[in-house]
């Protein structure tokens, strides 16, 4: 691979701070409007959710814990009976179109057969039950969404294409799945011309922005995984092209390719105007369309954001790494003129991200910036040591380290905000810059050089 020759990859101890992947329920329950997320886990999971998700918990969210008690652990209680009771309660109270079971570390360790129980209860309750194992043993933070989408990919209706006698046009048939309770499988009446499905959960406004960008290039998007409602899932199958919008969806991509026989469009991710342009161009090239007006559009965005870019140009940044968006955001920031010292990242799928990685390298060359080192499974302690030497102007880090670093006079930006902010597409580039420049803008109005307030000195 071209990228691996010059980009330096390293792997550390994996002792880093990140959110538990079950946090994906926070945005997924809002995205999929008729869903209910049931996290099958312990008090620890529940406590994390209620603290990490803050106020959403008071807004009668469509997620809850099936809290395991000692009887469940020691198998004194029957998992199926217990889950049936709880799901029945959920069905009565909320009547969702789908229930997601989120498996956790505990269900892994006690080997609770969620995948086995789900089809049985699905029949008995008449509600589809999708199982996703989003646990901290295997995954970090945003990868939770990946596991859920990968599980959902199996539930998408079958797309069948065959060549008509003369027209050669694709025709779509929503094949009814083999399962008996398929009422929820919504059959799309109007058949769309395109066969492009995008995957990744984005706020609906951002999704429509991206839809619009592609429509301008006459590449209409035929569906999204996930859709706004469970029964609007897109058709998948041979002849469908799929493209990811987020860098952490490698499992979903694999499932779409291997299990649903879709063709993956490997592109950089539509984060930043440079990324968005490259993403659209790649998709257009797959559909043999010549992308038009993109250079203009990109320049427009760069010009519009000059004020912010000026603040960060030639400043340095250090990514501690916790949400897998790091490569794309780093690439965008380098294009803005920043120097990136280190990109920490929980997990690096070099195949899924290959286009993004080579784009990163090109960007470095173009901007004449050194290639950053990419540290997989970073070690937060060592990173802090490195940061003391490098003295970056900005650290993009989790909330566990933000205040202590600020007290040591390193400006920080919480990485979690990038996950929840709208950062995709041309028009949202400003939102990324808004986030990145905030700590730096705040400083200008403040007393500069308010030296370290810390009472503890770090051992060097």
């Amino acid at each position: 691979m071209k990228t691996s020759e010059t980009l330096a990859f390293e792997c550390e101890t994996g002792n880093y701070h990140t959110f538990c992947p079950i946090s994906c329920v926070a945005w997924l329950y809002q995205k999929i409007e008729d869903s209910f997320f049931l996290v099958v886990g312990t008090k620890t999971c529940g406590y994390f959710l209620q603290n990490a998700l803050g106020v959403t918990i008071f807004a009668e969210p469509r997620y809850a814990m099936a809290e395991l008690e000692e009887g469940d652990i020691s198998a004194k209680l029957n998992d199926q009976v217990e889950l049936e009771r709880i799901c029945l309660q959920i069905k009565n109270d909320r009547n969702p179109s789908v229930i997601f079971w989120i498996g956790t570390c505990t269900t892994e360790i006690i080997k609770m057969d969620l995948e086995g129980i789900a089809p049985i209860l699905e029949k008995r309750l008449g509600i589809p039950i999708v199982v996703a194992r989003a646990n901290g043993l295997d995954y970090a933070f945003t990868q939770g969404e990946d596991t859920v989408l990968a599980a959902m990919a199996h539930r998408c209706p079958e797309y069948k294409h065959y060549t008509g006698k003369d027209s050669g046009e694709f025709e779509r048939v929503a094949l009814i799945n083999n399962s008996s309770n398929n009422k929820y499988l919504f059959q799309k009446e109007e058949s769309l011309k395109s066969n492009l499905v995008l995957f990744g959960s984005l706020p609906s406004s951002v999704a429509s922005q991206l839809n619009l960008e592609l429509k301008r290039q006459s590449v209409p998007v035929s569906g999204w995984l996930p859709s706004q409602r469970y029964n609007e899932l897109p058709n998948l199958g041979e002849g469908i092209f799929v493209c990811g919008v987020n860098p952490f969806l490698s499992r979903t991509a694999t499932t779409l390719m291997r299990r649903r026989k879709c063709q993956l469009v490997g592109a950089p991710f539509p984060i930043g105007p440079d990324g968005t342009r490259a993403w659209i161009e790649k998709i257009c090239s797959v559909f043999n369309k010549k992308a038009e007006g993109l250079e203009e559009r990109e320049n427009q965005i760069w010009n519009k954001n000059k004020d912010y870019i000026q603040i960060i140009r030639d400043k340095s940044v250090f990514f501690m790494g916790d949400n897998l968006l790091e490569i794309s955001i780093a690439r965008f920031l380098i294009r803005c003129g920043m120097t990136v010292y280190e990109i920490g990242i929980p997990y690096m799928d070099r195949r899924y991200q290959s286009a993004e990685l080579s784009f990163l390298q090109d960007t470095c060359e173009k901007m004449k910036k050194p290639s950053p080192r990419i540290v997989e499974k970073p070690d937060n302690y060592s990173q802090v040591q490195r940061m003391h030497e490098l003295k970056p102007d900005l650290a993009i880090t989790g909330m566990a380290h933000a205040n202590p670093l600020e007290a040591r006079n390193i400006d920080t930006k919480w990485s979690v905000e990038f996950t929840f902010a709208q950062i995709h597409g041309f028009s949202n580039a400003r939102d990324i810059l808004e986030l990145v420049t905030r700590p730096l803008r705040r400083k200008s109005g403040f007393t500069p050089n308010s030296r370290s307030l810390s009472k503890q000195t770090l051992l060097n």
Partner: protein, 514 residues
């Protein structure tokens, strides 16, 4: 399995971490999967802590599942030992390690051979205890460990200090207003001529623990953390302790009187005179604390007979109930706690002070209870604050679990005489009081939105209101409107009336109270 949306007390390891990270130069290593170190976020964000939280994880991943932790935990302990040279490393089990059933004690024993720091395994079972119980237990365990160790090394010091002194046990990180309470408590004891021997766990070095028994007595301000350690010290070292929290005027006076008694046990021998704090209590009550005068003042008259609901941890819920009833003349319709492990004591404390006692960990029960009794104000946790928001009843936050706004930079103790002032403010401000609130309602004011149904309960009543009755209802001041609506509907149901007219409303009103 239990369907749960929210919980009042966290999992056991949070309690252990709160204690471990409160001591100075102690590092906790969690045996936990990735993402379980959310404690660091809470500490860094809620407490706005300037230092890195001394908690790391020895990550449990697939390899650990397959082959066991092997040397991983031991290596992590030795590594931390070298990097940061903590006095002690506390290996903290989580729900995950509870079921893996690895021999953590063995890791601890092995690691102790190589480490300069003391390595301890926190002895808590995730499935048996919650955050509060675990914190109590861990504090007890650490105190025991270091006192026994000191005794073994022959360096324990059991001679009483010359002047009266006390230990404060149970001040910790992420505790509700703990830092302010601690300062207030120190001041209070200082004014009584009692020096502070040690404050644990917050900010104390472990090597100093050997001097713990030198104090004349122990103070345990919160029942949730420190009782076990205090009981141990009483049993082993004959140290008496006070576990009545000095929250509110009466409790504080009581607290000081007890201190007087304890000091006088030794005073004749050491000080050659007995102490008498009566004058101090009187002065403080009259002049330092405004609470006594405040509740006597005409402003507070409006509070008399108002209804409130109280819910929180055992310490705060019981104390606030007592203040509301005995010091301010407010009626507490319902007092409750989520500290199921301390029920007896709670019942004993609030017995006779409230109409109803509720012990539950289920916030929906509390929500329904509040919706049913419709108090004028709620005193509870952040959850009750949100319940109050939804049904338009003001709420004062008096207990954990809390949000960042409950870690105020300003001085806000709940304990002692300054605490009584703070609590007076909190209570008074929570009741939308006086003219400000009543006038708009009395004059039909700015309420054009129609009737607020004010209910969390699901059981809707199928009774029609005639338009006239509906508009009559709108004339009733907002703070009692919901109640009148419910009472009328109840009356109508009892008498098989299907439509409520103005006549029915007044008939219902004339009926003796329900």
């Amino acid at each position: 399995m239990k369907l749960a949306y929210w919980m009042y007390a966290g999992p056991a390891h949070i309690g252990t971490l709160r204690v471990a990270s409160s001591f100075r130069n102690v590092h906790a290593i969690m045996h936990a999967p990735l993402g379980d170190d959310h404690f660091n976020v809470m500490r860094s964000m809620l407490e706005r802590e300037r230092d890195f939280t001394p908690v790391t994880a020895s990550v449990v991943d697939r390899h650990v599942l397959a082959r066991g932790s092997r040397d991983k935990v031991v290596n992590n302990i030795s590594r931390k030992d070298e990097e940061q040279r903590p006095d002690s490393i506390v290996l903290t089990p989580t729900c995950t390690s509870s079921i893996l059933q690895e021999d953590l004690q063995n890791f601890v024993d092995r690691a102790s051979l190589y480490s300069e720091s003391d390595v301890i395994l926190a002895d808590v079972n995730h499935y048996r205890v919650n955050e509060l119980q675990a914190s109590d237990k861990t504090l007890d365990q650490i105190v025991r460990h270091f006192l026994n160790k000191a005794r073994g090394e022959g360096i324990s010091n059991r001679s009483l200090t010359d002047m009266p002194s006390a230990n404060i046990i149970g001040i910790s990180t992420l505790g509700f207003h703990n830092q302010h309470d601690c300062r207030e408590l120190k001041r209070l004891l200082g004014e009584l001529g009692i020096s502070i021997n040690q404050i644990i766990p917050e900010g104390e070095f472990l090597k100093n623990l050997r001097d713990l028994p030198r104090a004349w007595f122990n103070v345990v301000p919160y029942r949730e953390m420190g009782l076990m350690a205090a009981t141990f010290l009483e049993k082993e070292y004959g140290m008496p302790f006070i576990s009545q929290p000095p929250i509110g005027l009466l409790n504080t006076a009581n607290f000081i009187a007890r201190i007087g008694k304890l000091v006088n046990l030794w005073a004749s021998a050491s000080l050659e005179k007995e102490v008498n704090y009566d004058l101090y209590i009187e002065n403080q009550t009259k002049f330092v604390s405004q609470a006594a005068w405040f509740s006597k003042s005409i402003d507070c008259q409006n509070l008399a007979g108002k209804e409130a609901a109280v819910f929180g941890d055992a310490t705060h819920a019981a104390s606030i109930t007592k203040i509301l009833v005995k010091e301010m003349g407010i009626r507490v319709s319902c007092a409750g706690t989520y500290c199921k492990h301390d029920v007896e004591r709670f019942n004993e404390q609030v017995q006779g002070l409230c109409d109803e006692i509720i012990i539950t960990e289920d916030h929906t029960k509390i929500g329904n209870m509040i919706a049913r009794i419709e108090p004028s104000a709620i005193f509870g946790t952040q959850m009750e604050r949100h319940i109050g928001k939804r049904i338009d009843i003001p709420c004062g936050v008096i207990s954990s679990p809390v949000h960042i706004q409950n870690f105020p930079p300003g001085y806000r103790p709940f304990l002692g005489y300054e605490g009584t002032n703070q609590i007076s403010d909190l209570i008074y401000n929570s009741f939308n009081l006086g003219m400000e609130d009543h006038l708009p309602d009395v004059f039909g004011g700015h309420d054009t939105k129609g009737v607020n149904t004010k209910s969390l309960s699901i059981d809707r009543v199928d009774i029609d209101w005639s338009p006239k009755a509906e508009s009559e209802l709108r004339k009733i001041p907002g703070f009692v409107r919901g109640k009148i609506r419910r009472n009328t509907e109840f009356f109508a149901k009892q008498n098989n009336i299907s439509e409520i007219t103005v006549d029915v409303m007044y008939a219902a009103k004339e009926k003796p109270s329900l």
